[in-house]
Assembly symmetry: C2
Homo-oligomer: 363 residues x 2
């Protein structure tokens, strides 16, 4: 079942909004559509005002609209975002990744609570496209972050796990923008660190941190290639008890490796810090480091340059995705490509000739 | 001037072949075209036979055909490759990269000559898309590799530096295949190591080596991100004289870093070796290592799997390139995209809405 098919079967995400109710028989649906068409702009206006004023309920409804696969909802979502855009951009966007078992939820909860206590509004967005495989780690995270979730300054939202990778990222980016419009000062975007999302997250945040354990490198073996080179800070977690000494050594080792690698951010030497969420040590240092990073990047103007580059490349990625999607969605195209692949591997045809054949057929 | 325009102005690459002469007035050209049309299949047949029999002259002519931007030549080139395909695949394909000053030409000459003396046929292909900027380093390489160039077992060919990155890579891949059909046992593909070609070269070779100097990592600062993680072997070059001791230390340091990084080839621990092309030491060890690598990869069948994956992803890359190229080649499309970019950065429009607008116009 494609997303589009799903979309027509689903009720609009707007059913969660007051004044719009869902229905299943044809007559009512027509009536409802008319209502939506006429009344929606006013509703969107109301929605964005409530979001900007800081209402969590309407923020959640707005995100539901962004996540909806229903065509009409998507156009409302864009209208909402359009109105929200002038109020975006003021947060610090932080990506946090790490191997399973590194204690991401515990770190985020402790770090987030510290920031909330300091008076910051903190939004946590979790991307976990692999959760369909690993099964419900998001739910686990939510339970584990209960203290943070209950704090009035915090907002936690798992990202939808269905749909294409590009679709998940679009939703996360747009959710981030909406959270900024709602006045959140710090956006934490979490990935599991074993999938394909790390580069995508790096491309939507200002600062990227990687959670690791003691024994430098050994626990990164299962991670994506090049992850250290997109990292501004390696947090050596669980630096407590008997682990403390080893963690300090690991920090030194990581610093040495990072010295040899290209920096993730021009003008910033990526580094490592020991942190214990059990003993609540190191989180202050992490935040101070992020603030120093921001200051330095604002000075060099790379803060703004990177964000503009990120937005531009998001635009171009979406163009590419659309082109490739519409190409492969053409009737029989996948079959032809897979047959050509076989011919190529059989040495029946050269790659260049196969491409020519493919595009000759198209025109 | 686009490549296509250039193509119509250029004479066919076939003019280097006996029996086909170039001409400039209309009448003769028509006559020639007729001749080409009728006689070409026989010529191509002759050409491929001579190439397979090992004639360097015809190999060079075949490569000129591959490199030609003339439409008719391209179709001959594909015919040639088609006939050559069953004779390809038997070589060891080695990528060699390194910072300027690491001594790539000296290493390749010494290494290549050693292989030639051992009875192997060695082809050297140089990719240098940046040479338009740095100015003629290819010519320098050719002069510096004079001894290797004169050896009957060696064949040196710089790749064309004009055209798109994708185009350059297509030509290098196809040239590599033709060299294999001509019986070359070892193909060395050289890149300058500061451009965007390293990943592309990694995707067309079995083994990727990186030339570095003493002082681990420091001289890699200017290189592409993640280069160490696509590397099977780091050759610490100029390990002679006073440098010898330092080189050995550098080798140890690199080994340590490589241990922490993901291996470039599953089942192979990337490593480092000291080499001196001045004292001609270490080249034997490099070759032994490559042979051990090949044996291990043949055992695990990853040798074949990787090549098949490379061919498939080449095919898909070409499809993507074609889609994006034809999209941006549409009248006025670049202007529209650049205007939308400005609107996006001005927060006048959301990225998603801009993409919708772009594709709504298209349909």
């Amino acid at each position: 079942m494609t997303n589009k098919e799903k979309g027509t079967e689903q009720e609009s995400a707007l059913h969660v909004m007051g004044g719009v109710t869902s229905s299943h028989d044809g007559t009512k649906r027509t009536a409802r559509r008319k209502f939506v068409k006429k009344e929606q702009p006013a509703n969107i206006h109301h929605l964005v005002e409530k979001i900007i004023s800081g209402s969590r309920l309407e923020l959640a409804q707005g995100i539901t609209l962004i996540e909806s696969v229903r065509k009409q909802d998507q156009s409302y979502a864009q209208e909402l975002l359009q109105k929200a855009l002038p109020h975006t951009g003021a947060s610090v966007r932080i990506g946090i990744s790490g191997v399973p078992g590194a204690g991401k939820s515990t770190f985020i909860e402790t770090f987030g609570l510290m920031l909330c206590e300091l008076g910051y509004k903190v939004a946590v967005l979790a991307i976990d496209p692999s959760s369909t495989v690993t099964g419900g780690s998001i739910l686990g995270d939510k339970t584990r972050m209960q203290n943070l979730a209950n704090h009035p300054n915090a907002f936690i939202r798992p990202s939808p796990t269905s749909g294409t990778l590009g679709g998940v990222h679009r939703k996360t980016r747009e959710t981030m923008l909406l959270c900024e419009a709602a006045g959140y000062d710090v956006i934490l975007i979490e990935t599991v660190g074993v999938g394909q999302s790390e580069t995508a997250v790096r491309n939507m945040v200002d600062f990227f941190a990687l959670l690791a354990l003691t024994g430098a490198g050994d626990d990164l073996q299962g991670m994506k290639k090049g992850i250290m080179e997109i990292t501004d800070l390696i947090i050596v977690h669980k630096a407590d008890g008997e682990n403390r000494k080893l963690a300090k050594r690991t920090v030194r080792e990581y610093k040495q490796i990072l010295h040899y690698l290209q920096p993730a951010t021009p003008g910033w030497q990526s580094t490592a810090l020991p942190v214990s969420s059990l003993q609540k040590t190191g989180h202050k240092e992490v935040w101070e480091l992020i603030q120093a990073f921001k200051e330095k990047m604002l000075e060099s103007n790379f803060w703004k340059t990177r964000r503009q580059e990120q937005t531009k490349s998001w635009f171009h990625d979406m163009i590419h995705d659309r082109l490739i999607e519409s190409f492969f969605n053409e009737e029989g195209k996948k079959r032809v490509v897979s047959e050509l692949e076989k011919s190529i591997l059989n040495s029946d045809v050269t790659v260049t000739a196969a491409v020519e054949q493919l595009f000759a057929k198209k025109v």
